[in-house]
Symmetry: D2
Amino acid sequence: MHEANPKPPFNVTRASHAVMTARDLDATQAFYCDLIGFQLSARDKDAIYLRGLEERGHHSLVFRKTSGAPACERVGLRVFTDDDLEAAFDHFKRINLSPAWVEVPYQGRTLHVDDPVGTPLEFCSVMDDLPTNLQRFERYHGASPMRLDHHQIVTYDVQAATDFYLSLGFRLTEYTATDGKEELWGTWLQRKGNPHDVVYVNGRGPALHHCGIAVPEIRDIIQVCDVAGSLGFNKHFERGPGRHGIGNALFVYFRDPDGHRIELFNAHYQAIDINHTPLRWDLSDTRRSQLWGLPAPKKWFYEASNFAGKPLCDPTLKADPVTLEAFLANQF
Amino acid sequence: MHEANPKPPFNVTRASHAVMTARDLDATQAFYCDLIGFQLSARDKDAIYLRGLEERGHHSLVFRKTSGAPACERVGLRVFTDDDLEAAFDHFKRINLSPAWVEVPYQGRTLHVDDPVGTPLEFCSVMDDLPTNLQRFERYHGASPMRLDHHQIVTYDVQAATDFYLSLGFRLTEYTATDGKEELWGTWLQRKGNPHDVVYVNGRGPALHHCGIAVPEIRDIIQVCDVAGSLGFNKHFERGPGRHGIGNALFVYFRDPDGHRIELFNAHYQAIDINHTPLRWDLSDTRRSQLWGLPAPKKWFYEASNFAGKPLCDPTLKADPVTLEAFLANQF
Amino acid sequence: MHEANPKPPFNVTRASHAVMTARDLDATQAFYCDLIGFQLSARDKDAIYLRGLEERGHHSLVFRKTSGAPACERVGLRVFTDDDLEAAFDHFKRINLSPAWVEVPYQGRTLHVDDPVGTPLEFCSVMDDLPTNLQRFERYHGASPMRLDHHQIVTYDVQAATDFYLSLGFRLTEYTATDGKEELWGTWLQRKGNPHDVVYVNGRGPALHHCGIAVPEIRDIIQVCDVAGSLGFNKHFERGPGRHGIGNALFVYFRDPDGHRIELFNAHYQAIDINHTPLRWDLSDTRRSQLWGLPAPKKWFYEASNFAGKPLCDPTLKADPVTLEAFLANQF
Amino acid sequence: MHEANPKPPFNVTRASHAVMTARDLDATQAFYCDLIGFQLSARDKDAIYLRGLEERGHHSLVFRKTSGAPACERVGLRVFTDDDLEAAFDHFKRINLSPAWVEVPYQGRTLHVDDPVGTPLEFCSVMDDLPTNLQRFERYHGASPMRLDHHQIVTYDVQAATDFYLSLGFRLTEYTATDGKEELWGTWLQRKGNPHDVVYVNGRGPALHHCGIAVPEIRDIIQVCDVAGSLGFNKHFERGPGRHGIGNALFVYFRDPDGHRIELFNAHYQAIDINHTPLRWDLSDTRRSQLWGLPAPKKWFYEASNFAGKPLCDPTLKADPVTLEAFLANQF
């Protein structure tokens, strides 16, 4: 039922980058470079391009200046070669999506398409190379972000989104479903052999819930919290530290100056073997979101970055998540 | 104003141990040994005696079986020699307290007295020696608790408590006071050269708020949370992880099976020099309790372990702390 | 020149397991389970089967009892499906190797073949599933080994070995070559998107230099050293901790009771994109083996586990590595 | 036999600072500030003054420019009050040492005296206060050095040195002695309640073996090694990481640009109680210097910083320590 297509039409390799808009590039750079620890790859008057410490590709986070409301413009996926890009174009045409070739700075040939639930995607196989900072240990600071790992997206139709990515050869590692049924609330889907490249969760969407950034160790999770306190970024702190049941991430969530959310996490596992069957979590099992800590505050559930120009749809499924407010009201 | 007596009547060296009651010694042992990582020094049908991994003294936590409501019986302080015990007896007599010599298993000569705000104290200079587990690294697990570090006590009169400990040569490292006044809300007092041996905070008391247990590293704070999740101790988790502004502790708080609270923390600093003047925090500065994380839930502020047989008094000062409930209601 | 075959004849997914012989299974179990922290999946009178904490496959290390000299029997690779196994059989026939179907306990269909430089390989797509211990945090101890990551093999002909694995679609991430030439001394080859599944280095071979085991954090590297000291495994300690230039691993090397070597390491990077070109290290650059620490002792360079029944050949290239002995004699 | 004087003539509180000479202050600053992570408190054309991240006192390491051979000028100890300084002056006079009052920048009243084995000591009770960087987490880098912890000194007469410090109220925590005798090879002596303020070891002296600097965590020990590799300080790396049996320190040793040695370590224990009896290590027990790692290279045993103007004397006891060279020659 949750089977990946064994003969995908082209080879998507991984979640790669995201493009967002920001109202004040100085504030954005201060947040991502001074606090979180990203490297600045390029900046011009309209945009900043950032990469993690180990990344050789030119950028994994791009922020373009806006004078309007901040939004996410695109989430980026990498395909293996330009032949895969061609095959992707043909495939999307065939299934009646609307792919388009575009020019994007610092990237090779690039394809845009919206997925069936309205998520604006960007595919490419190459970016300009830049030196890795993997062994420039003197530059490790803040959370010492190593690389972009995954995108979590809110959608009104988790089943439809899941079917699409399974058809592209994504494999399901974990999922949340209504107790006793196969009604999907959230799906963790991957190509690169760890828990997730894209995650789709039920809610008013399409919207970007967060980008997940891999960091080396537990210490880095705490260090970035401490530095946030030192540098006065306290109000950007949203949730954590805690341990997700799903995916096993030790996490902390921050909101950037425009409200875009990032997860800093470590401790993903390997998911490569054919007999690595999807792990199911009942909706009623609160351990899926937090193995030991407090639940999330309500805003973590209900706020996300709109995709530029995409109207929001109400989700097919309705539920009251166990928020921190509810937890405190009822259990303490 | 907050000066330690330069010629104290006897030499208190440190916070040493606590004696509490518990309804189910098996449950208590499971919590402290299996989860937190304490070593069991002795157990008989009436009591269990625990020590941290580096401790050579016989016990730092004692739990005696009760069929009634659990309580704290005594907080223990160490004096340097038995001569100091004699001097302590004489001093307490002189200031009209009621010291008494008692026999306590596994301890040398032992003195009981209540401090002026009703805290039942126990003083000794020696305990039976047991082997340290400092270099038995295979026994490190859970939080890898190294040693008892301090007692935090709720009192109706912080000024009176503070004056008493200053007179015994305790030094004030940090304190909370009403903005613009020297009205004391909490005082961190020490003899051993780090931030605290005893802490007195304003509230309905006397009551034991928590015992503070030193652990080696940030990793141990997270590890014990993870193990709590694995072993099903989630409901014992109360607050954290977070960073206290006061004392700089990275902390997590658990409640034991009888509701007694422990803090697991690391990162204390050294406070030895004469010109290490007390650090003042205004009551309105929420960073004193949390540098970057969420505030504490209400129960953290209002629940504590009664001292056996000691009636509670309302505090002289009234305030609404910034609880997690208030924070969520107002700011998110 | 170092190009992976873009259309490999079948899909190898990763390094998976190793089969070795041991003279005393109790001693082997004590080393791998009590010290290193592996989980025992099965034991009978002839063999023990071990897996790392996150592994769901039945075993990643197998030790079979021998009354003779200990050796490595096979290194195991996983293919994606049983269709890939069939394709592998046909491919190996076609290139005049001698594949054979075998029955192996706890594994699905299994294929044996020797690679062109004499390394005995074992391929399968499935093993029996066992519960992961990823979220059984109370079982984390020693090095908290998560999974087998790679095999390092000594060969008399690095070029021949490398050509073979490139033809199977392995990609080269890093390599060592004679200064100014493309004469290969060592090649790091991968399928799973991190630095290595198999590594071939120049020397008297074929022989297994070590299996690389991924651990979560720096702390785990130090913790296992401490526990080795506590439990009396000091003489099993061989090299480290240190940081490899190649692959960026923070490493420590132990020898097991039969002399088989394991590397415990963390901090691998992701290697997925097509423009992730191989990183070259000159033979004269000692930073390739150690970024900051002391060089390896001579035995690290010259001792390895023979493959059972495989004669050793002298390598085509001769060199004096910078051993610890040479380093101390010359530079201190 | 190893009893501290219960009524010391004055109150020494702790090891506090060291004054050394350096040939190139820029190189010294680069080493201590850029690599190790010290804060620069002051610099003029003749000297730099450094302090650790938590220190409020003006300096714990001072380097004065020299055009000659670099040396250590003084090791500094703190007394509690200026009354203790007066008592110290009188005491040293009485026992026929030659105390002298001196003016030292950024310090209060200061007393100089040589101890009976020729170590030049400097005592003061106050220094100028500077802000602590304890909660300026954005400044933590390199090893994140928190504070100077102890001085290790090579002496020709360990017994004489030990007797002197015991007479000042120092307590012995651990010591090395000839197997079966009480002939002292090394003594760990403390006032502040952890394993050591001064350590005296047998050898050609007086000479400063190293200053010990406390760092927060294991991670910091590895991080500074990595940064040393990144920034090209490899040749300054001398020994480690490893675990000392004595004192339980996880350590790494560096040599600064003038050859002065520093130990970066964590994991000291508390030593306060009267029944904390000295721990004895036989000379033949190599675990005293390294619980699990390789022995030290010869230079670690035989090189030290001379004290300016102090002639060296041969030690009373002769031994061949187990050097790395000997270990490699004999055991591998």
